[in-house]
Amino acid sequence: MTGTSFIVSKDDWSLHRKGHIDQQRHMEKVKEAIKKNLADIVAEESIIMSEGRKIVKVPIRSLDEFHFRFNRNKQKYVGQGDGATKKGDVLGQDSSSQGPGKGPGAGSEPGVDYYEAEITVDELAELIFEDLGLPNLKEKKQQELISDSFQFRDVRKKGIMSNIDKRRTIMESIRRNAVEGTGDIAIKPDDLRFKTWDEDVRYQSNAVVIAMMDTSGSMGPFEKYIARSFFFWMVRFLRTKYQNVNILFLAHHTVAKEVTEEEFFTKGESGGTRCSSVYELALEIIQTRYSPEDYNIYPFHFSDGDNLPSDNGKCLELVRKLLDFCNIFGYGEIEGLYYNSSSLMSVYRKINDEKFTSVLIKDKTGVYPALKTFFKPHNET
């Protein structure tokens, strides 16, 4: 062989975006798949319990790359030990209960058999809230300012250096130098241009949401989890879309009390159930603190429907009273293990008011439809 048999080169690859472009398409598919499975994902424990973690993992089976393959749980693999490995030695527990990589594998990692998309809670929230809104929102007398964001809309000669408008400054310099015919390109203080801002003030109607939850003994872990999943997204949704919505948390068994958000989501109580207690409290709060003249009022109540029978009549009466003040009243009933068909729901069937909305939730997948039912933005003004 003559001469060199090799070439070494280094080129500019900055325009090669292929991997990123196809990754984007993959992300699109992930989002499509998530949207299709929102009902399953919304009540996913890893999200509700994410406690502020930014990124959550969502299992998506539809994005597996399917092909004919062996059953990984029945197959034998070749492994390598540190010496003196004997028959019967245990290498690890079933890796499906652990994170990937912990279990033993044979190149093909048995155990990890579905694709988990990573998505931020915000992105997920965006997908969930896409077509939700506060129903029957009306203009009220006393309006609060909801956003005071800044918008850069003006250019001035004075300002702080961090807001300098480079393009306009250079244009000014070129223009001045051309006029003066100096042929120079120096920038003089007079050329400097700064971006300045206006305050963007918008007003929006006030709203208060009253989250009411049954915390009585009959509300088991499942029922509580469902109610919490609903309120978790509800609170998130309200805070994302409306900056100045007040949210009150009322917990009740036979007596009701106003609790903090943290208590609402973490504390469990016991005892019997008298739902009228919480409605009374809600009415009292509306009368003393949130006048219907000034506020849009949205009470939501979640219960397993197992109310003291003698209390049902009173509940009906109070709900009717509440409906006079409210934009809508949402009632969610969770059908748990000991569900009884003569529940509060059957009592509320008598209510014939379009402002009253009720939802029956049987399992985790019912949370998303419930959100969609309650926050269907009809008649928005």
């Binding site: 994005l63 399917f66 594998g105």
Partner: protein
Amino acid sequence: MTSEEIKLFQESLEQISNKAREFGLDFYEMRFEIIPSDIIYTFGAYGMPTRYSHWSFGKAFHRMKTQYDYNLSKIYELVINSDPCYAFLLDGNLLIQNKLVAAHVYAHCDFFKNNQWFRHTSRDMVESMSRNAERIREYEYRFGRERVESLLDSALAIQEHIDPRYNIGRQGAPQKKQCKYDKCGQEINKRVTPYDDLWNIGIKKDTGNENANKKNKKLPSEPEKDLLRFIAVYGRELEEWERDILFIVRDEMLYFWPQVETKIMNEGWATLWHSRIMREINLSEEETIEFAKMHAGVVQKSRSGLNPYYIGLKIWEDIEKRWDKPSAEEKKKYGRLGGQGREKIFEVRETENDISFIRNYLTKELVEELDLFLFQKVYTKWQVVETEWEKVREGFVTMLANGGFPFIMVEDGNYKGDGELYLCHSHDGRDLDLYYLEKTLPHVYRLWGRTVHMETVVDNKKLLYSYNGTKILKQSM
């Protein structure tokens, strides 16, 4: 790498390539490209510098890139089986790392060039794949991105089901159908001539009965392993551009297949030679330490499974030793003369693939020294189930068979006389993943256009899975 470093690298390449040649390695001309991490992971995900677009590549790219970003794994190089041979080096590599990588790459190139399983691979696949990509892009433009994507989804679902030895033992095998849109196919054109029937001289024709029984004629006449090809040729519902894409997917898989089949040998071979070459070139003290660290990383036992670099290296070294200094028994039994180690490993690198490599050269002593065993899931635990060396070797070979994929045969392309497709899984003791089976059959249906069946064995019972376009049916047989 700065241009200064590139210059130094070029100087050492001179030494490295000379050493490689002295050792008897025989390689193509080399093209080394220094590329940034994004690009090396793109090439890693696609397997090639240019390939058609598909979201699955984007997914692979993202996964690999994330692992790199979190410092969990790193690709130092990527080498392409082509003439000239392209090797892509990560821009962030140290000079010494690039030296080792270059030595490694020269041995890979030698392997590509000389191992017989690569004999039929196209050496200008970089260009072919870029033409394929262009054609698929054109189909996207003409027929819509969604349609092309959905076809690729289905084609990729069965891409492993090709027959890499399709042409062996077949005479006058029907050639690839000429495609209307084909821009490249020089080779294809060459073969379609008025004299093609000459190839069929000497092959018995059963013309008499053929016409009479045309309706009942079995298609294929013998069970066929090449599912992708079978569908591309005989699928009645496919449009021409769809057939073309199936052939593209098949051609690219045929190109990659020998790499799947020689992973252990090829990586072991490259590791063997990089260490020998590096030992013979001048290194500073610091470089020697860095080299030792990196080499130790390469041959590190993997906690999760087998490290092909390590296993391959140990077997190569063992072969050379046993042919250099045969034991008394080997001398007597096999008439081995000794001193033939080098010659022997070059012969093995020419003729074997991983299956025969393991079967012929994984000895009792090696299984024990490497502490190899078989393990499997027992209830909820992963447990060692076999340490006896012959059983381990057998299990190893089974794991490698057919690239690790189940054997699927096309039994009948006109099942029930109704054009339905009947596939049979050649069961070898390993059951299929039934969830995946149920999800893959619709892809086959998407391509075939009529009901598809798959015969398999689950827990010692024969089962027939069918998909008719709306649902999966499961029957015991």
